[in-house]
């Protein structure tokens, strides 16, 4: 059983004739050529008289066996012996034993039969070897793929561990100065009068800079240390509406239209409301970033068997092939510097995985990208 499962370890066995995939064209050509050769040799045999052409018949017999199979080989062999016999009967003087020509024909017939069997055995052995090579090549390719996947996994794990260590260090080293800057900014905002326009603007810029730096560090922390979920039966639709509400300003600015296609009845799922909202905000931000001015964003939900499926489509240019494999890599971003940390999708995927679900990204046939979230329904999930 084990050997059967492992093609490389399977014992060498000869396949049945019907397993060979000889093309009907080469088979027909081989049969036709063999028959023509038999006719030609028979004619030579006849015109040359006593000169035996028996050995030459091995050519059509071999040709037929190799290219058309064992049965055809035997047929051509018998045909050759018959042709040889016919020539012998036509030429022989009626001397000796009356069965002599038949005996003489039976000898090459037997030889042809032996040749057919030997050739056929070689043919089968060759086919088996080819099959083994094919299987070994496939197994090798599979092993290579597994090795590559393991290598990528190792790199990813190593990256995650490095990020974990880095995140804690960076958080400490960056957030402490940010605390000082925040305190100093708050202090300055008390001193600088509101009438001091430039001063007030600078204070605001300071606050924005601190917020931006803090956001990067917090995302790193969340990525490196996804906290446990607080699961409750909740409406995905409600969470999505809250996320859409948070994105309202960005969508209005780019005149993006939102189309909603909610499944009926409204589905309650085991969700961590805050974390699911974080996932949706990340996805929506990407979709808004990708969509052109006046574009459309579609959010659609449906239930299939024991799964809840949410799809978020944008009308952007889609995901380029060179980016497809890197989308979930930490720190990979296509956004301009300062507009994305490259951790949003990685964090989103981690959160969805914590919900025992999957998050996938792909291109829609009609253009634009589609994010698909699949999570078990409350009834289908293991509690």
């Amino acid at each position: 059983m084990q050997a059967a499962m492992n093609p490389v370890a399977a014992p060498l066995s000869f396949p049945h004739e019907t397993e060979y995939k000889l093309s009907s064209f080469s088979r027909s050509v081989a049969i036709a050529t063999a028959i023509i050769l038999v006719i030609v040799f028979a004619w030579f045999d006849y015109v040359t008289g006593d000169y035996s052409m028996a050995v030459f018949y091995l050519i059509p017999v071999g040709l037929a066996t190799w290219y058309a199979g064992r049965a055809v080989g035997w047929f051509i062999g018998v045909l050759s012996a018959t042709a040889w016999l016919a020539g012998d009967l036509a030429l022989s003087a009626p001397s000796g034993h009356p069965l002599m020509p038949y005996w003489n024909a039976a000898m090459p017939a037997l030889t042809y039969g032996i040749v057919v069997e030997l050739l056929w055995a070689v043919r089968r052995f060759q086919a088996e070897l080819e099959k083994r090579v094919e299987l070994r090549t496939a197994a090798l390719a599979e092993a290579n793929e597994e090795l590559e996947a393991a290598r990528m996994h190792f790199i990813e794990v190593d990256k995650f561990e490095s990020i974990g260590r880095l995140a804690a260090g960076v958080a400490h080293e960056v957030k402490n100065p940010l605390m000082t800057i925040t305190m100093a900014t708050d202090f300055l905002s008390e001193i600088v009068p509101l009438t001091e326009v430039e001063g007030t603007a600078m204070i605001e810029s300071l606050r924005e800079a601190v917020e931006r730096a803090n956001r990067v560090v917090c995302e790193m922390l969340e990525f490196a240390r996804p906290s446990a979920l607080s699961l409750n039966l909740d409406s995905f639709q409600l969470v999505a509406e809250r996320a859409l509400g948070l994105m309202k300003h960005e969508m209005t600015r780019k005149r993006i239209r939102v189309l909603r296609d909610w499944c009926e009845p409204e589905q309650l799922l085991l969700l961590d409301r805050n974390k699911m909202q974080q996932v949706l905000v990340n996805i929506l931000l990407n979709a808004i970033h990708a969509a052109p001015e006046g574009g459309t964003l579609t959010i659609r939900t449906r239930v299939s068997a024991s799964e809840f499926i949410a799809e978020i489509d944008d009308t952007g240019s889609g995901i380029s092939p060179e980016h497809q494999s890197k989308l979930f890599e930490p720190f990979f971003t296509t956004k301009p510097i300062g507009q994305g940390t490259g951790l949003g999708l990685s964090v989103a995927r981690q959160i969805i995985q914590l919900h025992a679900g999957t998050l996938t990204l792909g291109n829609r046939p009609e253009g634009g990208a589609r994010v698909t979230i699949q999570i078990p329904t409350a009834s289908g999930s293991k509690s």
């Binding site: 804690a168 958080a171 400490h172 960056v174 957030k175 402490n176 100065p177 940010l178 605390m179 000082t180 800057i181 925040t182 305190m183 100093a184 708050d186 202090f187 008390e190 601190v210 803090n214 560090v217 917090c218 922390l221 969340e222 906290s227 607080s230 805050n274 974080q278």
Partner: protein
């Protein structure tokens, strides 16, 4: 209005300095800054604060350990302690109701408003 006594323990002098300047300017707060964790318990005994802002990660003594020392000290027992930490994010503290391990947490960078809110919430007038 009673002046509230606030002890800020953080190994970063720039943080304690700016916190002290901000708090004392904003309200009736008397702030004592301590940058050496190993001296913090003694400072707390001497200063008798109404509330302590305590950094979690300090080179000499871990903030959690120091909080336990203060909490078990006869003179300082019952003083509310607010942890200031750089290694949790705002989302993480919010998710846990801003309480981790029975202590109130403020993630760094904390704003002046969040500091004064804490003081008002955890101290009596």
């Amino acid at each position: 209005m009673k002046t509230k006594r606030i002890l800020v323990i953080d190994d970063e002098a720039s943080i304690t300095r700016t916190m002290k300047a901000n708090l004392e300017r904003t309200g009736p707060y008397s702030v004592c800054a301590e940058n050496h964790a190993e001296r913090a318990l003694e400072t707390a005994r001497r200063f008798r604060p109404d509330l302590i802002f305590l950094d979690v990660m300090m080179p000499q003594i871990d903030g959690g350990h120091l909080a336990a020392q203060i909490g078990s000290d006869r003179d300082c027992k019952g003083i509310p302690i607010i942890f200031l930490t750089a290694i949790v994010s705002e989302k993480e503290t919010t998710a846990h109701g801003k309480m981790i391990g029975g202590h109130f947490f403020l993630p760094k960078p904390a704003s002046l408003a969040s500091l004064t809110n804490c003081i008002e919430e955890f101290t009596e007038d």
